[in-house]
Amino acid sequence: MSLGSPTKYWWDEPLDPYEKTWVWAAGVFCVLITIAMPFWHYTGDQNPSQEYYKISPEKFDAATERFITAYKVGEEQGIPVVVPPPKSDIFIRAHQFGWEPILKLKVGQSYKLHLGSMDMNHGFSLQPINMNFQVVPGWDNILNITPTTTGVFHIVCNEYCGLGHHTMIGKLYVE
């Protein structure tokens, strides 16, 4: 009876074979799913950021502006459209309530994407491919990405960042 004190020598009771098998199976499973993470880290192509720096919003802003000036090709909805060379450092700045610039990337090429915030936490959610990363003020979240599909993508903010949160949408092209 689980509501009353157990019999005197409860710790001496041996387990049923079913219990023993189950706890072994569960234990082995837990070990395997633990190993899966470092395994994919070394062998897989989809991993979260391995690189990040502390950086003030002002400095991140300045770096983004330099990047925009260097590679700007036009504007869409008043937002600069930028075509950076492959393998370069590319920047996306999040703020209440928008993402800049609009990037045009080449499929199959790798880029070093820097994500930073000017104010609140924001959520970088690339749709419809569905990849999600946290953007934290004071930090540069760096992702080595290689687009593998072409098309028009939107960046949805999926971290609540204030009452205009749902208006915070960005855009990205891959050709």
């Binding site: 387990l15 897989g44 934290v136």
Partner: protein, 506 residues
């Protein structure tokens, strides 16, 4: 036999301390009131996210969502846990409640803290979600309210341990404490550790809101917040599982299949799960991959092991009890003959299966470093935790309430037929709700979001999650409304029972 401070329970023969009884009643009742508030907000939220209805304005939606999280996850759950702590110490151990005024202080602090927080959110002074990630800033009283609430909860745990001490010295029980009390001890240990940890960042954040000190680094806040926020969920898990064992005994007279097995599993929670909080930060900057993998792998999966052990021993104890009653034909005669009409039993079955099949499996998936990339902050996450904390914890607490009413409130459940149906309405509704949210989340739909058509953005008309998602949200809403009805059946029945249920004869 009843003395000034005790009555003797006619059903169980246990001595029931009056101050413990009053505090159990107050805490449980307050919890249920918050469940009602949270449920109404939940209904409004789910009917807003279903954009065919889009009930609330954006501002009200975020406000309602903030208060829903607090009323449910904080107020309903923690008030109920205080009742459970007093029940598993004073009542189950046949003992007087230590320092009753400390218990009262617990209740008053939590009530005042909860009220301050509620008022701050309702007046638009704290549109920050229950996570209140800095630099989002609420009115300083909001943080003070949270701190008062937490201090109250700590005092509840202190009263609990002091009562255990008295029971031990006065030898009111023999040998080891009952398994359910053991589970509550694990919950209370985790509670004290995590609530004390909560002070490390809530007090500085409060001082920051007052303008006394500078803001904490936002990533440090997230780390400290989830070190606290994740661990507090383990209080709920331990309390929920204690309820599973208790309901097994109350409904079919089950005995733990193996005390050693179940207690070891509980101990694993206390030792490991507190540390596994980085699964909230898997796609964050500022924490190395090695640290994330170590934290969420080793520490979390040993707790997963513990849950899987309970997943065996909880149904096993019920099966053994029913088989001993003679239902031994085939594999599953016992399951057919189980007391499906007893609302505590059916609640518990929903709780166990929902926690395991929905919450447990998705928890392992979304908590894996790489897999988190495709689920972080999508609506699949609320899908996951409604499976754990609603189908799991809330239904376990609802189930045990059906026994708390006659045993502690000494009232017969006012509407037995409603009680019989209630777990099915709530449980089925919540299963639909959770599965649909997890499904929709797979398409990348964000959580905490008022408008996924992006109609007020620069790119309006360009973004669409497609018709499958629209349909999915209709199913989410159907499940949510059904769950709301089930929740209302529970709350109204409980309130009616307390107000006008027939007295259990003494």
């Amino acid at each position: 036999m009843a003395s000034d401070n005790f009555r003797v329970c006619p059903t169980t023969g246990l001595k029931v301390d009056f101050s413990a009884q009053t505090l159990i009643k107050l805490n449980a009742f307050t919890a249920i009131v918050f469940l009602l508030v949270g449920g109404l907000l939940g209904l409004a939220i789910v009917l807003t996210r279903w954009q065919a209805v889009h009930l609330l304005t954006a501002e009200l939606f975020y406000r309602a969502l903030t208060l829903h999280g607090i009323a449910m996850l904080v107020a309903w759950i923690v008030f109920f846990e205080m009742a459970l702590l007093y029940f598993t110490s004073a009542i189950l151990l046949n003992c007087r409640l230590a320092v009753p005024w400390l218990g009262w202080l617990q209740y008053i602090l939590m009530l005042v803290g909860g009220a301050i927080v509620t008022v701050m959110v309702l007046t638009g002074n704290a549109d920050v979600m229950f996570t209140s990630y800095v630099p989002l800033k609420a009115h300083h009283l909001y943080y003070l309210g949270i701190v008062l609430f937490a201090v109250g909860a700590i005092l509840g745990c202190v009263t609990f341990f002091a009562t255990l001490g008295i029971a031990k010295t006065e030898k009111t029980y023999q040998g080891s404490v009952p398994l359910v009390t053991y589970g509550a001890i694990v919950a209370a240990i985790i509670a004290i550790l995590t609530l004390a940890h909560g002070a490390i960042f809530f007090i500085p954040t409060w001082l920051w809101a007052l303008g006394v000190i500078p803001m904490m680094d936002p990533e440090t806040y997230r780390l400290l917040f989830w070190g606290f926020g994740h661990s507090t969920q383990q209080i709920n898990v331990a309390a929920m599982i204690a309820c599973w064992y208790a309901i097994g005994t109350l409904t079919v007279g089950a005995q733990p299949a193996s005390e050693k097995f179940s207690r070891s599993a509980f101990a694993l929670y206390a030792i490991f799960i507190c540390i596994a909080s980085e699964h909230h930060l898997l796609v964050d900057p500022g924490i190395s991959a090695a640290h994330k993998e170590w934290n969420t792998g080793y520490f979390m999966h040993l707790a997963v092991l513990a849950s899987m052990m309970h997943a065996f021993s909880v149904p096993a104890q019920i099966e053994i009890a029913l088989r001993k009653k003679g239902y031994t034909k085939g594999m599953f005669e016992w399951l057919k003959k189980a007391p499906w009409g007893d609302p505590a039993f059916s609640s518990m079955v929903f709780s166990v299966t929902g926690f395991g099949f929905m919450g447990g499996i998705t928890g392992i998936l979304y908590g894996t470093e790489q897999l988190n990339i495709i689920r972080h902050n999508t609506i699949a996450v609320p899908g996951h935790f409604h499976a754990t904390v609603v189908v799991g914890t809330t239904m376990a607490f609802m189930g045990i309430t059906y026994y708390v009413l006659p045993l502690i409130f000494q009232r017969q459940v006012a509407f037995p037929t409603v009680a019989k149906l209630q777990p099915y309405v709530y449980g089925v509704g919540m299963w639909i709700f959770c599965i649909a949210m997890m499904f929709v989340g797979g398409f990348g739909v964000p959580r905490r979001h008022w408008d996924i058509t992006a109609a007020e953005s620069l790119f309006k008309g360009e973004l669409s999650f497609g018709p499958t998602v629209d349909l999915g949200f209709a199913v989410v809403a159907i499940g949510g409304v059904l769950a709301f009805v089930g929740g209302a059946m529970f709350v109204l029945n409980a309130v009616a029972t307390v107000a006008m249920g027939k007295k259990v004869n003494q």
